[in-house]
């Protein structure tokens, strides 16, 4: 199949993602320097909050959305072995999302949208920010629609056959994203834009926070699923083995898609607008969603164990040393899983109803999500890029050795950045502050940790530059006619001939999601229309 058009489509998305990423990395290092107070010339709350808002939007929305779309298109076309359905629509989605990004960038960079990436109302940004964010999401809905159509078309053409696992995972993510983004879409459409346009004088912050909580947790799984997809469909083959279980992988993606959604109130444990019973229900659901993560950990490690033993590894743990650590995909998954263990522990603490009070709105929280997102997830984005770049460009990677150094430095830098961040949270440092204005023994005790974080940030920035350098050099290298590598998806030792329909389709699970969402968000949202609440005027810009 001549897939040049699909490769160009995927590559364009991935480049937008990684340009956003490198810009955001520079901002991140500035922020940790500014907040430390070590460089008085840098101190400026206005610039800090503009930067932290832009950093958050670029990393959490632009990097992720464009990466997931690009990776999804490539996965769909190569796993199903068919062209992208309606490639003009796909390009339309790309340009709409890019236009939205540019539109949101203007108020962000001029300090007119310093509302952080959560943009909780009644904090108000310039209306261009909300329109830009809307376009970014609308463009991604085109992608979701294309993935769902391709999934359906393939199933129709191949009745009873199991959908390739890579496409099954991608479709799970497309479905999850449609459900996930609906919450923030309602918030922006019915609250943020009318407020910013002056059509409403006040807004209900409780309703806004409830709608954002709808989006805020499953969006993390939207970001994470490409990493899990690589765990299952690339890693076993790259390690020299087989996927331990195709069915367990499918079940993990289904449970992730279903249970990531109705659990967002663990972000609202300290909020007054929801009753404690609802919070407890969502809290229990939060622990349920740890199950697919444990299943994923088990399946991936078991696949690695098979590979390690096939390579001559003996004894209980001898297979670990036999793994091909010089393969960037294998190295990345090991480092990613290590960060997932540490970040997962932080997440369990966050989700614990009582203990959440200890770390709520402290520096622990950004420490946690940097470890899970920038650590566990983004290191797999790097590995996927290192694997896909040669396949997309039909040229070998500029330097495999540089890729390994980059992955190690990202892991080390992330450890040095996030460990003090967690400790600072336990010491009581609040999050979302631009500087430490008090000169007390307590705040002086924070200084060594701030210093460590600056150092960790510098390592990360250097690592990010190495990553981009490697991609650019690969892109600019002359074409070779001898490059014949093809994408290789992992398989189980005994190829899967058939799977039950509930492991091969999302119709049933879509209905389950609808029921669970109605149960967990129905009354909590409807209550705002039946009880007296008091709106708040816009605050900020």
């Amino acid at each position: 199949m001549n897939d040049a058009a699909e490769r160009k489509l995927a590559l364009s998305h991935l480049w937008v993602a990684f340009i956003a990423f490198i810009l955001a990395c520079f901002m991140g290092e500035y922020q940790v320097l500014e907040r430390s107070g070590f460089v008085p010339a840098l101190e400026s709350p206005a610039v800090y909050f503009a930067s932290v808002s832009t950093h958050g939007v670029l990393m959490a929305f632009v990097l992720t959305t464009f990466f997931i779309m690009g990776f999804g298109y490539y996965t769909a076309t190569t796993s199903l072995k068919q062209p992208i359905w309606n490639i003009k629509l796909a390009w339309s989605g790309f340009w709409i999302s890019l236009l939205g990004t540019a539109m949101a960038a203007v108020p962000l960079l001029t300090g007119k949208a310093s509302v952080l990436y959560t943009f909780y109302l009644p904090m108000q940004a310039h209306v261009a920010f909300y329109f830009g964010a809307t376009l970014l999401v609308v463009g991604s809905w085109f992608w979701s629609a294309i993935m769902l159509v391709m999934f359906k078309q393939w199933k129709k053409a191949n009745p009873k056959k199991p959908v390739p696992l890579a496409m099954f995972a991608t479709t799970a993510n497309a479905l999850l994203w449609l459900w996930t983004s609906a919450g923030v879409a309602l918030l922006v459409l019915f609250q943020a834009i009318p407020l910013a346009m002056g059509w409403m004088d006040t807004v209900d912050p409780g309703l806004a926070r409830t709608l954002f909580a709808w989006t805020l947790h499953p969006i993390v799984y939207f970001w994470l699923i490409p990493a899990y997809t690589a765990f299952y469909v690339f890693v076993p083959k790259q390690a020299g083995g087989f996927l331990f279980s195709d069915e367990m992988a499918r079940m993990a993606f289904i449970v992730l898609a279903v249970f990531a959604l109705p659990i967002g109130f663990h972000h609202l444990y300290m909020d007054p607008e929801q009753a404690s019973g609802w919070k407890l229900l969502h809290g229990i659901g939060t622990f349920v969603v740890s199950i697919p993560t444990l299943v994923t950990g088990f399946t991936v490690i078991a696949s690695l164990e098979i590979a390690g033993r096939l390579r001559g590894g003996k004894d209980l743990f001898g297979w670990i040393g036999s793994l091909p650590w010089s393969n960037s995909m294998v190295l990345a998954v090991i480092l990613s899983l290590l960060m997932l263990i540490l970040g997962g522990f932080g997440g369990v603490v966050n989700a614990s109803y009582a203990m959440n009070a200890m770390i709520h709105n402290t520096a622990w929280v950004p420490g946690h999500f940097h470890l899970i997102f920038a650590g566990t997830t983004v290191i797999m984005y790097f590995a996927i890029a290192y694997y896909l770049w040669p396949l997309l460009l039909k040229k070998p990677l500029f330097s495999k050795q540089m890729a390994l150094v980059q992955l190690w430095t990202w892991f080390i830098g992330m450890g040095i950045l996030t460990t003090p961040w967690h400790v600072l949270g336990l010491l009581g440092q609040p999050r979302r502050i631009s500087s430490v204005v008090y000169n007390t023994l307590l705040t002086l005790a924070w200084k060594p940790y701030e210093l460590a974080m600056i150092f960790g940030g510098l390592i990360l920035l250097g690592s990010a530059c190495l990553f981009i350098y490697n991609l650019v050099k690969t892109q600019l290298a002359p074409s070779t006619e001898t490059f014949t590598e093809q994408v290789e998806y992992a398989e189980t030792y005994h190829p899967v001939a058939s799977v039950p329909e509930y492991l091969n389709d999302f119709k049933l699970w879509n209905r389950v999601i609808a029921v669970l969402m109605a149960i967990s968000f129905g009354v909590p949202i409807l209550q705002f229309f039946f009880m007296d609440t008091f709106g708040s005027p816009a605050w900020g810009y």
Binding site: L310, R311, F317, F345, V348, M358
Partner: protein
């Protein structure tokens, strides 16, 4: 890569992943211990909010 015969290959693939079970048990056990330490060693000693 180490060369192994087909019989050994089949035995490896069909055997139980004991190393994985052991690793997972260690990870889950460590997380439980760390959670208990944080709950009883840090959170509870801080007392209630006055």
């Amino acid at each position: 890569m180490n060369q192994i015969d087909e019989e050994e290959r089949k035995r490896i693939i069909e055997s139980s992943p004991v190393g994985t079970f052991a690793l997972m048990a260690m990870v889950v056990g460590s997380m439980v211990i760390a959670w208990l330490f944080l709950y009883f060693g840090v959170f509870i000693p801080r007392g209630g909010i006055n």
